[in-house]
C-alpha cells in the first residue's frame, strides 16, 4: 500500500528533521550547530507548506511564513551575531562522550516512537505518523541540552525543542490557531533577546560561558 506523493514527501522531510536532530546532538562546532538549526527550521517550513497545499488550509501558509522568517532568518542571525561578539567558536567538551550520547539518543527515539503510537492512531490528520518523529526530536533536543557544558549550545537545544513541538503541532493538529502561533513566535523572539542580554551578563561575570560556573548554588 503506497501513500500519496505528498505524504511521502512529508515523511521524507520528517526523516530529515530527525537526522538533523541527531546531527545536532553529535556536533562539536557551534557555528555548524546554528546552521543545522536553520536547516531544521527550513525543513519545518517545507513540511508545513506541503501540508498546507495538500489539505487546502491557507492559514498554514502564514504559519510557514512566520516559521521561515523567525527560525531560518531572524534567530540564526541573532545567534551568529551573538557568538561573534562573545567570541565563542568551539565546544569541545560534552559531559558524556559522543558515542554514549548517540546510544542514549537511539534509546530515546525508540521511547518516543512507542509513546506516540497510540496517539497517532487517534489523530485524524494525514501526517499522524510523523508525531513519533516530532516527539523524538523534542527528546533529542532535551538530551542535547543536558549533555552540553557551554551556554550557547544549551540555548540552541532549547530552540530545537521548540521546533520539535511546532512540528508535533502541525503533524497532530494541522497547526494551532493563528493568534496562538503568533504569540508563541513572539515569546520565542523575546526569549532570544533576553537570553542575548543574559549571555553578556554571564560572560562579564565569569569571563567564560561555561555552564559549570553556574553550578555553585547547591543544597548544603
Amino acid at each position: 500500500m503506497h501513500l500519496p506523493l505528498s505524504s511521502q514527501i512529508i515523511n521524507l522531510l520528517a526523516a530529515i528533521m530527525l537526522l538533523i536532530a541527531f546531527a545536532m546532538l553529535t556536533q562539536r562546532r557551534i557555528l555548524t550547530l546554528i546552521n543545522l538549526f536553520a536547516m531544521q527550521g527550513l525543513t519545518l517550513t517545507l513540511s508545513t507548506a506541503v501540508v498546507a497545499w495538500t489539505t487546502s488550509q491557507p492559514h498554514l501558509y502564514w504559519s510557514a511564513l512566520i516559521t521561515v522568517l523567525l527560525k531560518v532568518v531572524l534567530l540564526p542571525l541573532i545567534l551568529h551575531r551573538l557568538i561573534r561578539k562573545l567570541e565563542v567558536k568551539w565546544d569541545v567538551e560534552t559531559l558524556i562522550n559522543i558515542p554514549t550520547t548517540m546510544i542514549v539518543g537511539i534509546v530515546l527515539v525508540i521511547l518516543a516512537f512507542n509513546v506516540a503510537l497510540p496517539i497517532s492512531a487517534l489523530a485524524g490528520t494525514i501526517t499522524r505518523g510523523t508525531l513519533g518523529i516530532a516527539m523524538a526530536s523534542v527528546l533529542l533536543a532535551f538530551l542535547m541540552m543536558i549533555t552540553r557544558s557551554k551556554a550557547v549550545p544549551q540555548v540552541i537545544g532549547f530552540l530545537a525543542m521548540e521546533n520539535g513541538l511546532f512540528f508535533a503541532a502541525t503533524s497532530a493538529t494541522y497547526g494551532m490557531p493563528m493568534v496562538v502561533e503568533l504569540g508563541i513566535a513572539l515569546d520565542v523572539l523575546v526569549g532570544m533577546v533576553i537570553l542575548g542580554v543574559f549571555f553578556f551578563q554571564i560572560r562579564e561575570r565569569f569571563d567564560s560561558l561555561d555552564i559549570r560556573h553556574l553550578e555553585k548554588l547547591k543544597e548544603e
Partner: protein, 317 residues
C-alpha cells in the same frame, strides 16, 4: 528452483566480470581522484600492469612465516570471488541464491577479515599487529552497521535473500523510502571504512603509522601480494555492487531473459563508473580522520542504520 541455463550463464558471467573488471574499477577511481585534484592521471589500465608485474615475481617470505601466511591470499581471493557470485549484479536468478543470503555475505567478509588479521600478526612485525588491531576495531564497529542496513532492506522485501530483495526493490514503483535513504548514507559510510578509503584510511599512504589496510599486507610480495591486492579491488567491486543492487536496482534483469542479461552489463558498467566518480569525489573532499575518531564515524553509521530501521517501522510499517 532448479537452475536454468540462463541462470548458470548469468552466474558465471557475473563472476568472470567481477574478477576482470575489479582492477579497472580501482584504476578508474584513481583516475577520477587525480582529475579532481588537478594532477595528471595514471593510465586506466595501470592496476592490470601492476598485477601482471607482481605475478611474474617470486614471493619472498620471512623465516618464521607459517603456512597460514602463505595460504591467506588465496583464501581472501576465494572469499571475494564467492561474495561476487552471491551479489546479484547482472541477474537475480542465480543458482547460488539458495546457498547464501545477506547474513552469510557479511559472514564471508568477516572470514576474510579474520584471516587477513591473523596473517598480518603471523610474521611478528610491529606494523602487522598494528594494522591487525585497527582493522579489527573498524570491523567490529562496521559489521553491525552493515547488518542493520541489510536488515532494513530485508524488512522492506520480507526476506534476507539478496536476490529476492533486489527483485522486489527493482519491481516497485518509484516510492520515496526515507528508511532506504538513511540506509544508503549509512552504507556509504560503512563501505568507506571497510574498503580502507579516506576518511578512514588512506590507500595511497606510505606512512606506516597511519595505515590500517596497507599495514596488514606490508610483508607480502610477488604473486601473494598480487592476490591480496586483487582481493582488495574485488572487495570494492562487491561493495559497489551491493550498493547498486539495494539502492539503484533498475536494469538488473529478473531472470530467464538472455537479452536482459546482456543489457545489464553496460548498465552495470555505467553505474559503476558513476559510483567510482562519487567515491573519488568523497575522497577528495574529506580529510583522513585521526584513528581515535574512527569509532565516532562508525558509530554515526550504526546510528543512521538503526534510525533507518526505526523509521521504517514508524512510517512504513
Amino acid at each position: 528452483m532448479l537452475p536454468t541455463v540462463s541462470g548458470v550463464f548469468a552466474q558465471i558471467a557475473e563472476l568472470v566480470l567481477a574478477v576482470l573488471v575489479a582492477p579497472l574499477l580501482t584504476g578508474w577511481v584513481n583516475m577520477c581522484r587525480a582529475w579532481l585534484q588537478n594532477r595528471s592521471a595514471p593510465p586506466l589500465l595501470a592496476p592490470y600492469r601492476v598485477l601482471a608485474k607482481l605475478f611474474q615475481k617470486e614471493p619472498v617470505l620471512a623465516h618464521n612465516a607459517s603456512p597460514l601466511f602463505r595460504i591467506t591470499p588465496y583464501i581472501l581471493f576465494g572469499c571475494m570471488c564467492l561474495a561476487a557470485a552471491i551479489v546479484p549484479s547482472l541477474d537475480t536468478n542465480l543458482p547460488f541464491n539458495t546457498a547464501a543470503d545477506a547474513i552469510a555475505l557479511v559472514g564471508l567478509f568477516a572470514l576474510a577479515r579474520v584471516f587477513m588479521s591473523l596473517a598480518a600478526m603471523d610474521v611478528g612485525t610491529a606494523f602487522g599487529s598494528l594494522g591487525a588491531r585497527r582493522e579489527m576495531m573498524v570491523g567490529f564497529l562496521a559489521e553491525p552497521a552493515l547488518l542493520i542496513v541489510l536488515f532494513t532492506a530485508s524488512l522492506i522485501s520480507h526476506t534476507t535473500s539478496l536476490a529476492t530483495t533486489v527483485e522486489k526493490l527493482a519491481g516497485m514503483e518509484l516510492v520515496i523510502y526515507p528508511s532506504l535513504a538513511f540506509a544508503g548514507v549509512a552504507f556509504t559510510m560503512v563501505s568507506l571504512a571497510e574498503n580502507a578509503r579516506i576518511p578512514v584510511d588512506n590507500p595511497a599512504t606510505h606512512l606506516e603509522l597511519t595505515m590500517i589496510h596497507e599495514a596488514m599486507i606490508l610483508e607480502y610480495s610477488g604473486r601473494l601480494l598480487a592476490l591480496a591486492e586483487w582481493a582488495a579491488s574485488l572487495k570494492l567491486f562487491v561493495y559497489s555492487c551491493i550498493g547498486i543492487a539495494l539502492f539503484v536496482p533498475f536494469g538488473i534483469s529478473d531472470g530467464g531473459d538472455w537479452a536482459g542479461i546482456l543489457l545489464a552489463v553496460p548498465v552495470l558498467m555505467a553505474k559503476l563508473a558513476a559510483g567510482g566518480f562519487l567515491l573519488a569525489l568523497i575522497e577528495t573532499l574529506s580529510a583522513k580522520m585521526r584513528i581515535f575518531r574512527a569509532p565516532e564515524f562508525l558509530g554515526a553509521a550504526f546510528l543512521l542504520a538503526v534510525l533507518a530501521m526505526l523509521i521504517h517501522f514508524l512510517l512504513e510499517g
